[in-house]
Each structure stands twice: as C-alpha cells, then as structure tokens.
Symmetry: C2
Subunit: 441 residues, 2 copies
C-alpha cells in the first residue's frame, strides 16, 4: 500500500470538516518540554591526546601539591639564608659550592653552614636550604681545585623559592565535570598523571531525510528535484554541538518500510532526527509514524518563525526530533532544541546558546507576530557586538546560513526593528554556553 | 659525550667574559619575521560529512540557479493568473483540477484555460502556470467523477511562486577559499553536489619536549621531577588551531642523539615545536642544535612577558619554534607565533587572534616594562566584554590556563591597570580570526 495515497486519503477525508488544527506553543515552553527528557549520558575513557574538545565526566582534583616540592625558579645557588645575614657591599660572604643539580635531580649532600649548591631553574631545593641567590648576583671562582662563590647582600628565608603547593594544594578541586577540555585543562590532566581521561561519551544522533523531491549529493540534478542539503547541514551541527552522527539516508514513501526503518534506527541511536515530513501537507507522514510507534508527541507547532512545524516526540525517554524540511527552519530547530539536549548528555551545566545584547546595524522592518530567529553575522565594534542579517531572510535561503554566526531573536508581538536598536543574539560558534535560556534572563 | 657537560663547559668557558647577551625585539616585529615564512599549504579531498571545521581550498561558486526551477512555496493549486482576473466574492471562478504533483515530480499535462494542478510545497510549477493559490483560499469538490476547485479572488502573475534563481544565480561566488566550513557551508556544498570537498590539508606539527626534570604522563612522581604538561597542552593548541600533531616524546641529553632526532623529525613534519631548552641556562641546548642544523635563527629574545626566550628558527623555509619550557610562556608562544602560521597554511585570510576591547574587572597593579600577555577569562555584560585574570599571574602556574579564554594585552611601558580600564584582549576560542594584528590596528 502506497503511503502517500494512504495518508492523502486520510487527510482528504477530514479536510473541510475538522482540518487538523495545531495549537502553537511558545518557544520557551517548547524548549522546557524537551529539556525535561534531557538526561546525562554515559562515559568513556580516552587517551589524553584525544581529549581535546571532549567533556570531563568527573571533577579534576589536584592529586598532589603543585609544585610537588620546594623548587628554584631561577638559575643560581641554593643557600641557608641565615648564612647570608652579614653580607653587604663591604662584607662579601663566601660559600663553598658542594654540589650542582639540574632540574629533575636532587642533591644527595647535606648542606652545612656557608655551603651552597649550584641549582638550575626548576630543580628541587636541597633540604637544608631556604633561599636562592640568582647567578648574576654571585662571583664564582676556584681555589685549591674547589669551587666557591661569594655574595655581597643578604637574603631572607624564602627568597626566590617556589614553595611546595604554592600554586595548588593537594585536594583542590580544579575543573568541574561537564567542562569542555581545552589546552589548559589538558595541561592540568598531564600534570596530575591522567594518561587516560574519563569523558562524556558523544551522543550518537541518527539522521533521516524525507522528501520525494530530494536527490542525494552525488546524484545529478533532474527537473523538479533538488539536492538534499539539510542532512549534511545537520551533520555539521551535530559535530559542532559535540555529538556524532549516523546518516541513514532518505526515507522512502512506503509507510511500513519507513516505520520499520525508524523503529530499528531508534534502537541504535541516542537521539533521532528527521528532516521534513512534519507539516500538515498531504505528503507529510511523520505524524502517522509517531502515532504508530506510540510515541508521545510533546508539541507539533511552535509560535516561532522559521520552524513553526518543528515537532518533538518521545518514546521510552528517547527523543525524536522532527525538524522542518526547510533549511533555515531545520537549522534553527537543531540549535534551539537538539543542541541543549546534546550538551546536557555531555554533562555541560551550560547547555544553552550564549545570549548577549548586540546593536542592529540595519533596519528590519517586518513585523513579528511570532518570535523570529534571523540568521545574523555579528562582529565586534569598539567593544560592542554589532549584528547584521547574514543574507535574505527567507526561510528557504540556504546561502544565508553559511555566513551566520548568530541567531538574532526578535520577540513575538514586535513591530519591526530599526538600525541602532538593541537586540538579543544567540552565539552559534561559542562553546561555553549558558545555563539560562535567553527568554528567562 | 654527555651533552649537558659539553654545553655546560661551553658556557662555563665564557661566563663572566662575554656572557651571552640576547637583544630583545618587539613582539610585533617577531610575529612579522615569522609570518614572512608562512606559506599556503597543500590540499586534499575529504567526503562532505567529514568537512566540518576544515578550510575550503577553492572558492565555492553556484553551479546552478537556486531554486533550479520555478517552484511553489505552498500547498495549493497552480493556475494561469489571467484566468483568475474576474474572480471576486460575487464571482466565483471554477478551475478543473487536471493533475496533482508532489515535490520532486513534474506534471506531464499541459495546463489550459481554467485548468489547475494540485501542487505541493517545493514542487516544480507546471510550464503554463504563473501563480499559486493557497489551499485554504479554495473550495474543492467533485462533479461527474472529475475534480474541481473554485476561488473568489484574483491573482497576479508571480503570486506565490519562488522563481528560478531568486535565491542564487548560477555563477554567483558564494564562499571564498580559506573559509572555515560551518554547517551552513556544508548545506551549500550539498546543494551544489560536492560529494567530495577540496580542503586545505591540516599542517602536521611535530612536538618534542625537553627538560631533564620531566616525567611522562604515565610515570609516577619521584622527588625532583614533575610531569610534562607542555607537550599535552600544545597538542590541544595544535588541534584548536586546525592542525594535527605527532608527539616525538622527550629529547634526551645527548647532543648527537638530539640532533639526529630533530633532523629526522624535520623531514616528516611541516612545523617543528620544541618546549623548553631555549633559555641561556646551562642545560639549555636548543641553541647548539640550531647552530649545528645550520638553521637561520629569526630571534631568540622578545620584549614580552611571559615567553621572552621564545626562539624561532627557519631551515629551508621550514619553521622551528623553540617555545619556553614554562607553561604559560609556552602557551602564549603558540598562540602568538605558531597559530597564525597554521592558519595561513590553511589558506585563512584572517590568521591572527581576534582582538577586541574589554573592560578590566579588577586591578592589575604590576608595571609592565615589556608587553605582557595575561591569561584572562572574558564574559559578556550588557553587550560589553569584561575580563578578569583567570588565576595567579605567575608564569609557572598551570591552573590559570584552564580557565583562560583570552589573553589580555598590557602594552610595554605601562604602569599597571585599574578596574574599569579598557584593555585589548585576544580571543582564544574564536574561530573567525582577523587579518590585522592587534598591534597594528
């Protein structure tokens, strides 16, 4: 049985009588409904060199003092400060140099009165010494085959010594789990001996495209058809958000086959995304599949543009995102709804897109009956962020997405904006995120 | 022969007579000297799904119109607008529905006067039609087994039609080579049939650590030794900048062996980084190796803190970066000197760290005889960037690096800064970059 006819007939039967009317919910409420099902994912271990950009699955706590021993921050001589007490321009004090230690070595000698150890930057202080004299403040010489140095000023206990634990005391919490690992965190992990790092596993997101008009990227153009761009765009969004993907290709138009494909895919992935097929159009059959799966549809209409038909369903705690087939709507849908779920699975405490104020650099005269998310390009200007739309604001316009680094939020019920107005923008390329939804600030 | 003794003796011999004095050059000049050797790297092809985050090696030009045909943006009926001319509330006009086309299909029928085709969103317009009537403005019915619809208003030619090329005309340059591929660019690549994408090859950066005090990450702590954190930190920086790395481990203290190791590594990589071993300390032997290689040392002292001993040499056009062994200096050295070279190899036209103004949120009383780069954490506050130092400003403090997302630039010759002062910050996590060095703005 052909799905298209099947579903077409179903709709035909009701049109004019009880035409399916969907009730839009506010975008803030839609995000909240989705986030109720966002749960922390599982963990895995990776080698330290592979940990960049991953999310820490456990708190990083200093397992020893840093530095782990008193050490010399300079090239010079380690002495007992007390021996230098009488040193002055007029009273040169001589020290016998009894050893020489490089970084990584420890002296085996006991340092007595008026004895010194030649010490290199980073080397451990001899036990008896409590000050370092920098090389350039000493005079070195030999006498009877023995080495000496002398100084003309006094030093206090602690002078030029990096004390054990002065950077970090053992037990200090350093980096909270859920933090994205940057080069500085990698340095800390190395310092504390993490050859392997426990990180959040990347959520696996399944992607299906729907649309009888779609060609795959390797197929030549034919009349009436266009290439599938959404699936590849979403793949990039998945990676940008810290997850990984499996692309299942295009759903065909047989309901039974689609149902089986989606059902099987659900077993293999953490999140399932479909692009297209969620409108009330005659050929849009995702609603029928959600019904047959017994999935709980959280919403199927949102008071926003683009992406009003974005549909999210849940089955046994697993989320199915029915993103619009329209590229801009699909893009916005991913960033608003899927991204914070991914970040939560990764243990991030700041799952939402960072929202900041920016100055609009051009007029946007269209009224906004619903909250509008416009693709924008933001730049810095004298310490402020300024923003322009990144191309035509038509929801089918793919080109505007390539230059977008923010979404401009134009609240519903506003009449249009003019150059110089302050607007809220959501930063798409910023990794830090925030724990507060722009709408709840 | 033991290198340490060899080099130690060499230095011993001259100390007090012609102690090696290095002449610091301004940091801006140092960057300029390095960038003279920054050349565009080679290319490779990757599959579209693997292209996220890579850099386009060729301009992306629209290979066809977008949309590639006139299409309907709505579900409805395609008509000849002229037939609707007399339609009004009092004059309902009837159309015979002769076909039904979904997205991806084309009608084979010729549409005559007062005929219509049921058309779905995204479907190609029938050749004779020039307007679309939205479904909700029609009345549908059957008569004698034939389908009809009627309308009560007129439409003009072009109403509700997305015209071929209205988004993008064939031949339009869309994305410049050297652009980092984001999800929007991936959508464009898919639209134009790029199953494979020509991208800049990631530069391969070799990394050696030096330092007799260093343990590898998997070795237990022993007295006098610390774990090597720089190599792992730099690995993260390499990846963040868009390159890839090979870690060659720790150089030992045998000059001949070190020389061979570095010489062989140079043949395998595009850029070579060493951490440590560049000071004038007795155990620092990189200068001897540069000499033996016959490398051209561009500079070995910079008027900056931290990282004044950062040394860069060049051999047959290949750059050898001698970064400081001190973690913060090493970190700053990578971002200021290596990163823009990597970005240039990737074809980026904006190789430098984005520099913007920010308001200092705390006092920084230390005077700055030389330009200082302080690790900072910047956040947004009412559309402005505000910045704090991200920890102790001691160059050996690893913990301050993990929270850093910017470098605060405090120009040389300044007396210290107070809360509320405007400072320049360099954004470490921003991917866009700039073509203008902060110092030349």
């Amino acid at each position: 049985m052909c799905l298209i006819n099947w579903y077409y007939k179903k709709v035909e039967g009701v049109r004019g009588l009880t035409v399916e009317t969907r009730k839009p919910i506010p975008v803030k409420e839609a995000i909240r409904k989705v986030m109720k099902f966002a749960e922390i994912g599982s963990n895995e271990e990776v080698l330290l060199p592979d940990s960049y950009g991953r999310y820490l699955a456990e708190d990083l706590i200093a397992s020893h003092d840093v530095p782990p021993f008193h050490k010399s921050p300079y090239d010079g001589f380690a002495i007992r400060a007390i021996d230098s007490k009488e040193a002055s321009q007029l009273n040169e004090i001589e020290f016998k140099v009894i050893d020489e230690i490089g970084a990584g070595f420890v002296t085996t000698k006991k340092v007595g009165p008026f004895e010194a150890v030649r010490i290199m930057t980073g080397a451990q202080m001899p036990y008896e010494c409590d000050a370092v004299v920098m090389l350039e403040l000493t005079k070195e010489y030999e006498r009877d085959g023995k080495k000496y140095m002398s100084i003309k000023r006094s030093f206090r206990s602690g002078d030029n010594v990096s004390f054990q634990g002065e950077d970090t005391k053992k037990g200090t919490p350093l980096v909270e789990k859920g933090t994205r690992i940057n080069p500085g965190v990698q340095a800390l992990l190395a310092t504390f001996g993490y050859e392997k790092v426990r990180v959040s596993k990347k959520p696996l997101i399944g992607i299906f495209a729907t649309g009888t008009e779609l060609l795959e990227v390797n197929e030549p153009l034919v009349p009436g058809k266009i290439r599938n761009s959404n699936a590849y765009m979403v793949q990039g969004q998945v990676i940008r958000s810290g997850a990984t993907f499996r692309y299942f290709g295009k759903l065909n138009d047989q309901l039974d086959e689609c149902f089986e494909a989606i059902k099987n895919a659900l077993d293999e992935v953490d999140i399932l995304i479909t692009t297209g097929g969620v409108s009330v159009g005659d050929y849009d059959y995702l609603p029928a599949i959600y019904e047959r799966l017994g999935a709980n549809v959280l919403f199927n209409k949102i008071g926003m543009r683009p992406g009003s038909v974005t549909t999210v369903a849940e089955l046994n705690g697993k989320l199915l995102f029915g993103l619009s087939g329209n590229p801009s709507a699909c893009y916005v849908g991913y960033e608003l709804f899927v991204r914070p779920v991914v970040k939560t699975m990764l243990r991030s405490y700041t799952p939402y897109l960072q929202s900041v104020d920016a100055i609009l650099e051009e007029d946007f005269p269209k009224p906004n009956p619903f909250t509008r998310f416009v693709r924008g390009a933001a730049t810095f200007k004298e310490g402020h962020l300024v923003v322009k739309t990144s191309g035509l604001d038509k929801s089918n316009v793919v080109t505007s997405l390539s230059g977008a680094n923010v979404l401009i939020v134009l609240p519903g019920g506003t009449r249009g904006f003019t150059k110089g107005d302050k607007v809220t923008i959501l930063l798409l390329e910023e990794e830090q995120g925030t724990n507060t939804l722009w709408a709840e600030k």
